[in-house]
Symmetry: C2
């Protein structure tokens, strides 16, 4: 049997499953962790979802996502992020993933937008720390820089995170977003104890229109997952390895088949050879 003790499945990878189906499917497959998203959790009920996963013996490895902190209307964004912190705390996860947001409409000021993220982190980090939640800045691939996330590399995420104590603000290492960066090894080493989450998806081409749903099943693309995992481990990270793939082909299949395939690919491409 493969060692699945660190494997976590992000619910969006198998979005055809309800939360109860996810819990049952993970228990059956021997997958010990799940990454959750706010909208389906809110729909199901936060406390109810927390109880469901707890009763199933599953760890909630992260909550996706807060963020979108670059706009002009700051107060509602901060309020929503405080709610996200509360939800993470209720779910029993210490990791709230933050996607920073893109450029405000009409703006060409990337640097300014990044500074607004820093200002928002300064407001949110103490609130989150009081509730046992760490903010995890997720750099997204540079193709999302204008409309989703002005933080485009692990180095940039660390430039932001390092303004705060490591136990309050960490970073997400997501293979899909970072695989192309030749500074990756040094930046992962630099991240050290700030690695708050490690997420996996493969890079496959051609990209679909809108590029959001182009992520590949592990092993179908060009990402060297084993090297990534070794780098993250060497930085001192011993936490969950979460598979987060947005892919319509996976969503069209039987959920248990997808999960079995993920576990198989994880064993073949991520675990030690």
């Amino acid at each position: 049997m493969s060692d699945l003790s660190r494997l976590s499945i992000n619910q969006e990878t198998i979005r055809q499953w309800s939360l109860p189906e996810l819990a049952e499917g993970c228990v059956k497959a021997g997958v010990p962790g799940v990454g959750l998203w706010r909208a389906p959790v809110q729909e199901y009920g936060v406390e109810r979802a927390a109880r469901l996963m707890r009763d199933a013996g599953l760890a909630v490895t992260s909550l996706c996502r807060g963020g979108f902190l670059t706009g002009d209307d700051r107060a509602p964004a901060l309020a929503d992020n405080r709610r996200a912190v509360d939800e993470a705390a209720a779910l029993g996860t210490a990791t709230l993933v933050l996607v920073s947001g893109g450029l405000p409409p009409g703006s060409r000021d990337l640097h300014g937008a990044r500074e607004r993220v820093a200002e928002a982190l300064a407001e949110l980090a103490p609130y989150a720390a009081d509730r046992g939640v760490r903010l995890a800045i997720e750099p997204l691939h540079p193709m999302f820089a204008s409309d989703r996330c002005v933080v485009s590399s692990l180095g940039q995420a660390l430039d932001l995170a390092e303004r705060f104590p490591a136990e309050r603000v960490g970073v997400v290492v997501d293979t899909y977003h970072l695989w192309w960066d030749d500074r990756l090894a040094e930046d992962i080493a630099r991240a050290g104890g700030r690695v708050a989450a490690f997420q996996l998806a493969d890079w496959v081409t051609p990209l679909p229109a809108g590029v959001l749903l182009g992520r590949g099943q592990l092993g179908d693309g060009v990402v060297d997952f084993r090297r990534f995992r070794e780098l993250v481990d060497a930085a001192g990270y011993a936490g969950p390895v979460e598979v987060e793939i947005f892919n319509e082909e996976l969503w069209s299949r039987d959920g248990a088949d997808v999960l079995a395939e993920v576990a198989d690919r994880y064993a073949g491409h991520v675990l030690p050879a």
Copy 2:
């Protein structure tokens, strides 16, 4: 009248025009330079294209493109690149744009692919220098890293170029590919005399399927062109400013209208305010 003395139009921006139409259109619009592509030039005849542009008084500011040097079958790629050098020399341009190529099929070794580019440059640069042509390494946006170009940032391009004399191997600064990079200002300064070409297109979303034809008309997106031009100028570059936009909407319109719009946008977004 706006100062169009540095403006060059890459022929792919108005691909609905034949080479004679391009020459005539540029003369009428007061645009003094053109960037050419190998395939249409070969079809028209290299010597004939050279004479056409010379007779029209137009400068050929660059030839696109050589490269694709990462594959296993090295000899044909090198031979083709020598032909590209010969064509550039015949056209009277000192700048051959090189797009490195993506990962070879089945490979996950980005570093190795980049090293193969370096090896190929070592073979090609003396040949090009003997013919008065400088190789210009073009970093493409990281979303092209797997299938087109393993050189994804200006810093990476400089890491390669700096292994050779500046007059033999330079870099292309293309706004579309580089705008997201927070190291841009320092890397353009580092490039200095190695800036061999400066190309413009705007970043607009959503990206179309395949992402190749998603470039925007100047001013339609998020790129701060004036700042880019100031950075490139400050690095000592005084050469042509070439507009290269792949966009099906532009291709569907009257070529003269597109060129007039490009000149207008250039004046409004690139020239000093």
